[in-house]
């Protein structure tokens, strides 16, 4: 039966792609509640620390000046210290929990997104990059959105609190400290600019050298096979030395950032100490710095560094920002990958086939004619019209898929064969494994209890295929097989053919294959050899 070549309208290529996965904004939404709680706790801690500094200054000042110290002052001081430490403890725990919650939720969002990506596109993604990304990037993004953001907010709130508390005693001291801030920020801007300029100039050289060690470790077997170990070692040493030298040059400027904060904090203490000292000695009458009690001077001296502490904590978080942004970018790139352009095969759209309830259906044709694509359409994995309308048994969960990349869980061979195939007793497993030749495979010692490594690292494609065939035999579902006899030697190929034929007596088996023997034994053959027509032989 030949289906005439009628020019058909081009099929709808792909449904509109799903919205872009914006890791940063999704995570921001998740982070909001945790962030609020964290900032509140950090503000409370700052306030309590300021309170402790105030009461300690009062107590010390009064003691030294031989004045009476109320016991409640000491009590308040100790209480404030205890609660401040506890608030810090709670804040750190909250930060850790919040970051963990955000990263876990983000990872499951990314997982859901992976599920929406069609199978063909999933295969084209770089597995290594995706796995590394899923491992590490959610927590970097969480650290950016919780830790770094909190530090940013506290950089505004902390100094404000400190200046407020300072102004209770001397608003002029508060003003002095506040006025140093714009000067400090100006220096930041200058240094930041210098860093950026230098980094741009050296980025290419950096990029080449930074990954050299990783690259050489990755390619070690090849280096060994080419007897190049000694030369590569010498080259590695040279390049790493160069890289280290350039990095140190850049660090000189990068550390200037933190140095500026240190400088202004120290400068403020020095200036205040001088003014306050002059005021006490009545050598100079600077308004706001004279006629003060000792406890007030000590107060000013202890609070002033607290003004600059949030800036220092922020600069320590700098790398978290860079890492988090890079992680978000990488995750977006991976999950927003361009849809793979599939070859348009109009012939498949015109195919209307009624699949029998049992029997062997073979799809044949040369490479690239669309055998695998047709098989995937049967399984509903590809966009496009279902070529076998009305066949209920091809819904997912009712299919057993057989190919060389079948999934094999870690564990024993018995576990692998019975995976997703329902509960089975050992005798049946043994019979099936023996029929397909898995029990006496020299490379799988131990029969049904043979250990399979994680990811099936110690399995070849042929062994995986046979495990999938054994599974298909046991599970009672319709079988779709993609090249079931490829990469097998004659004896094993024959065993697989026999098993498939046996299955086809009771169930539907659809194979896409090059194998002429298998095709010859089929009840229905779909021939895609000619690109514009489909021959269906009964």
């Amino acid at each position: 039966m030949k289906i005439a070549a009628v020019p058909a309208p081009l099929p709808d290529p792909v449904a509109s792609p799903p919205a872009a996965f914006d890791a940063l904004s999704s995570a921001e939404r998740l982070a909001r509640p945790g962030l609020r709680g964290l900032v509140a706790l950090q503000a409370v801690r700052t306030a309590l620390r300021l309170g402790f500094a105030a009461t300690a200054a009062m107590a010390a000042g009064r003691l030294v000046m031989d004045e009476a110290v109320d016991p409640w002052l000491i009590g308040a001081m100790i209480a404030l210290l205890a609660v401040a430490c506890f608030a810090g403890f709670a804040a750190e725990r909250m930060q850790a929990s919040a970051e963990n919650a955000v990263s876990t939720r983000l990872r499951s969002l990314a997982g859901e997104r992976l599920g929406e990506i069609p199978a063909r596109q999933l295969q084209s993604l770089s597995t290594g990059a995706l796995v590394v990304s899923m491992q590490r990037h959610p927590e970097s993004i969480a650290a950016l959105l919780i830790g770094h953001r909190a530090a940013t907010v506290m950089m505004a709130a902390g100094p404000l609190l400190a200046a407020m508390v300072l102004s209770f005693v001397s608003w002029q001291a508060a003003l002095l400290v506040v006025c140093l801030t714009p000067v400090m920020i100006l220096f930041f801007a200058l240094v930041g600019d210098a860093i950026r300029r230098r980094a741009d100039a050296q980025e290419r050289a950096f990029g080449q050298l930074a990954g050299q060690f990783a690259d050489r470790i990755r390619t070690l077997p090849t280096i060994l096979a080419n007897h190049a170990t000694a030369t590569e070692q010498a080259k590695l040493g040279q390049r790493l030395e160069g890289y280290a030298g350039k990095t140190i040059g850049l660090l000189r400027i990068a550390f200037a950032n933190a140095g500026i904060i240190d400088f202004f904090a120290s400068l403020s203490i020095a200036i205040l100490a001088v003014f306050l000292g002059l005021g006490h000695l009545k050598l100079a009458t600077i308004p706001g710095f004279s006629h003060l009690e000792l406890w007030q001077s000590l107060f000013i001296l202890m609070i002033a560094p607290e003004y600059f502490a949030p800036f220092r904590r922020f600069s320590e978080q700098y790398h978290a920002k860079a890492e988090g942004l890079a992680a978000a970018g990488a995750l977006d790139r991976l999950l927003d990958a361009e849809p793979v352009t599939t070859k348009i095969l109009p012939v498949l759209d015109r195919l209307r086939l009624t699949l029998p309830t049992h029997g062997l259906v073979a799809i044949v044709g040369p490479s690239g004619s669309g055998k695998s694509t047709l098989l995937r359409r049967f399984a509903g994995l590809e966009p496009g019209a279902m070529p076998a309308p009305g066949t209920h048994s091809l819904a997912a969960e009712k299919i057993a898929w057989v190919s060389t990349d079948a999934y094999v869980p870690e564990g024993t061979l018995a576990g692998a064969i019975s995976w997703n195939a329902g509960a089975l007793d050992r005798n049946r497993l043994e019979d099936v494994a023996r029929a397909i030749g898995l029990l006496d495979d020299a490379l799988l010692p131990g029969g049904l209890d043979a250990r399979l490594d994680k990811g099936g690292a110690n399995l070849s494609g042929g062994q995986r295929l046979r495990i999938a065939v054994a599974r298909a035999q046991l599970c009672g579902r319709t079988v779709l097989a993609d090249e079931p006899t490829a990469k097998l030697d004659r004896g094993t190929a024959e065993a697989v053919r026999d098993v498939l034929l046996e299955i086809s007596r009771a169930r539907l088996v659809v194979v896409a294959t090059h194998d002429r023997d298998l095709a010859a034994a089929a009840d229905i053959m779909v021939d895609l050899t000619h690109g514009d027509t489909v021959e269906v032989a009964a």
């Binding site: 010390a60 000042g61 003691l63 030294v64 000046m65 001081m77 430490c85 810090g88 750190e92 850790a96 990263s103 876990t104 990872r107 990314a110 997982g111 992976l114 199978a119 063909r120 993604l125 995706l130 796995v131 590394v132 491992q135 080449q208 690259d215 470790i217 990755r218 070690l220 077997p221 007897h227 070692q233 040493g237 660090l251 000189r252 933190a258 140095g259 240190d262 400088f263 120290s266 203490i269 020095a270 100490a273 001088v274 000292g277 006490h280 000695l281 050598l283 009690e293 000792l294 001077s297 000590l298 997912a396 299919i399 999934y407 094999v408 997703n420 020299a442 494609g461 030697d489 094993t492």
Partner: protein, 532 residues
């Protein structure tokens, strides 16, 4: 590794330690002396002694300590990182050489070719590199500061030593507890991460079957759940850190308070309280340095775990030097009556194979995938097992054969380097390199990419192109024994035949063994069929 570089590392560390101690000293003195100064001037200001008070010297010292703290901290950061970077270079070069000698490299399936494992390995190396900077140096300076201030407290306010010691004991106890629990948590995190990663990798590799059977979301979710569980154990570690930090944050203030309280209790009054006040504020300044205590501990834990991990690779490294080319004429014939084939884990498989390898007549190993062709080639090359082959009237051991072999693996890779470096041909003139590239039909592609000195990476090339560059390496090699593992994989049939033909013509005077999974129409070959 230049000796100048090594000695500069020691110098940098000494300098960094000096700067660190200076920074701490300046910080402590800045806090203490400024408080003392204020106290003194406050007391002096009440009387006529105000005019006689020498204000300027202490004020100058305060300015000195302020500037000194800034400069010393900057110097500490800079020289500390410089020293760490210098050490890093030396250590990585050594590590490269040690890994190259590790037996795992020659076995099947190089684990560090996998991105996730490589990333973990690099993290470990970095933990080792920076351990001294993150843990060693700060701990040293902290210990020095503690020693000096405890001595001062013993002199000025002995009673304060009681709460101080109690709190130190509490810290030590917390550190001990955290070290044990933390090491376990870190270990769990690593193994959960690795498990989740390999599970996700396996699911990705079987994406189509899983999606067809409707099991994808389940498997993917379970793999990601394992990774999230790893994050959970890390959370437990951070909670422990919070506890330690709490006690550490309380240390400075408590020590300062107890010094003042002890001095007051001992009956000191007024101006006599000035030295204890100096000490109390010094304790406050030292307390600031205690803030990073938990991070130091975590850096130490990670270093220990990293050391154990990397040590695993070096285990069972074969004693003795790597194989050097044996003296004497090159072998004309290699024989083994009954070479027992071995699986990667050492088990014997199949029946022993009789080998007779002669130049001019390539030997072809035919077998389906998984039948052990690569393992047999590696045995002949001396990479696995320790079989001895007879060559004329001599016996060549495995390590001797290694130096004589050009082993062309089928999963070879491109290094991030120039094309010239990737061809591993040393000082061979450019013309010879171009001839090799022409023979494997890659000359056009390489000219497009920018010529022999263009920087290339693996992702710029398709599998077939990488394979052809690999064959170009074989073309340029001069070793007498050439082993080609599936040389035409990823190449289309016609091209593969052409290139293989040219290679075999070039190697007509050498011993060649080729493995393939489909019978090739090569004439004048000796075929060995391998049954799985």
């Amino acid at each position: 590794m230049s000796a100048a570089f090594q000695s500069s590392s020691r110098k940098s560390w000494r300098l960094a330690t000096g700067f660190a101690l200076a920074a701490l000293a300046c910080a402590i003195l800045l806090g203490g002396v400024s408080a003392w100064l204020l106290g003194s001037v406050a007391i002096a200001g009440l009387s006529a002694a105000a005019f006689a008070f020498n204000f300027h010297i202490p004020a100058a010292f305060i300015r000195l300590f302020a500037v000194g703290r800034t400069a010393a901290r900057y110097g500490e950061r800079l020289t500390g990182h410089k020293a760490a970077l210098t050490d890093q270079v030396a250590r990585r070069v050594e590590l490269f050489a040690a890994m190259a000698a590790a037996p795992a490299v020659r076995r099947a399936g190089w684990q560090l070719g996998d991105d996730a494992r490589l990333a973990d390995y690099l993290d470990d190396v970095e933990d080792l590199d920076y351990a001294r900077l993150r843990a060693g140096l700060p701990a040293l300076t902290l210990a020095c500061g503690l020693a000096i201030l405890i001595a001062g407290s013993a002199v000025l306010a002995p009673l304060s030593l009681l709460p101080i010691t109690l709190l130190l004991l509490a810290i030590l106890f917390a550190v001990n507890r955290m070290a044990k629990a933390g090491a376990m948590a870190w270990e769990q995190t690593r193994s959960l991460r690795r498990g989740g990663a390999s599970r996700l990798g396996a699911a990705m590799a079987s994406a189509v079957p899983l999606k067809a059977e409707g099991a994808w979301s389940r498997e993917c979710a379970e793999a990601l759940a394992a990774l999230s569980r790893a994050d959970g154990t890390l959370l437990a570690l951070r909670r422990l850190q919070a506890g330690l930090d709490m006690i550490g944050a309380a240390f400075g203030p408590v020590a300062g308070t107890s010094v003042m309280a002890a001095a007051w209790h001992a009956g000191k009054q007024g101006a006599e309280l000035l030295p204890p006040m100096l000490l109390a504020f010094s304790w406050l300044a030292l307390g600031e340095a205690m803030n990073g205590a938990s991070r130091m501990l975590v850096a130490l834990l990670r270093r220990n775990a990293a050391r154990a991990e990397i040590g695993q690779w070096m285990k069972a490294a074969p004693a003795g030097r790597p194989g050097s080319a044996p003296d004497g004429p090159l072998p004309r014939l290699l024989r083994h009556g009954a070479l027992q084939r071995r699986a990667p884990d050492g088990r014997a498989i199949g029946t022993p194979v009789s080998l007779l390898l002669a130049p001019g007549q390539p030997t072809v190993l035919v077998g389906a995938s998984g039948s052990g062709k690569t393992s047999l080639l590696k045995q002949i090359a001396g990479w696995i097992g320790d079989d001895a082959l007879a060559a004329g009237d001599r016996i060549l051991s495995a390590s001797e054969r290694r130096a004589l072999v050009a082993l062309v693996l089928h999963d070879a890779v491109i290094l991030e380097d120039t094309v010239r470096a990737n061809l591993f041909a040393g000082d061979v003139p450019d013309a010879a390199l171009w001839r090799a590239l022409e023979a494997v039909e890659m000359d056009g592609r390489i000219r497009e990419a920018g010529g022999l000195d263009a920087w290339i990476t693996q992702d710029k090339f398709s599998l077939g192109e990488v394979q052809r560059i690999n064959l170009a390496r074989a073309w340029l090699s001069s070793r007498p024994l050439v082993l080609l593992d599936e040389p035409t994989e990823h190449l289309d049939d016609a091209q593969g035949e052409r290139i293989l033909g040219r290679l075999l013509a070039r190697f007509s005077d050498r011993i060649v063994v080729v493995s393939t999974h489909r019978a090739t129409p090569l004439h004048e070959t000796r075929t060995i069929e391998l049954q799985p």
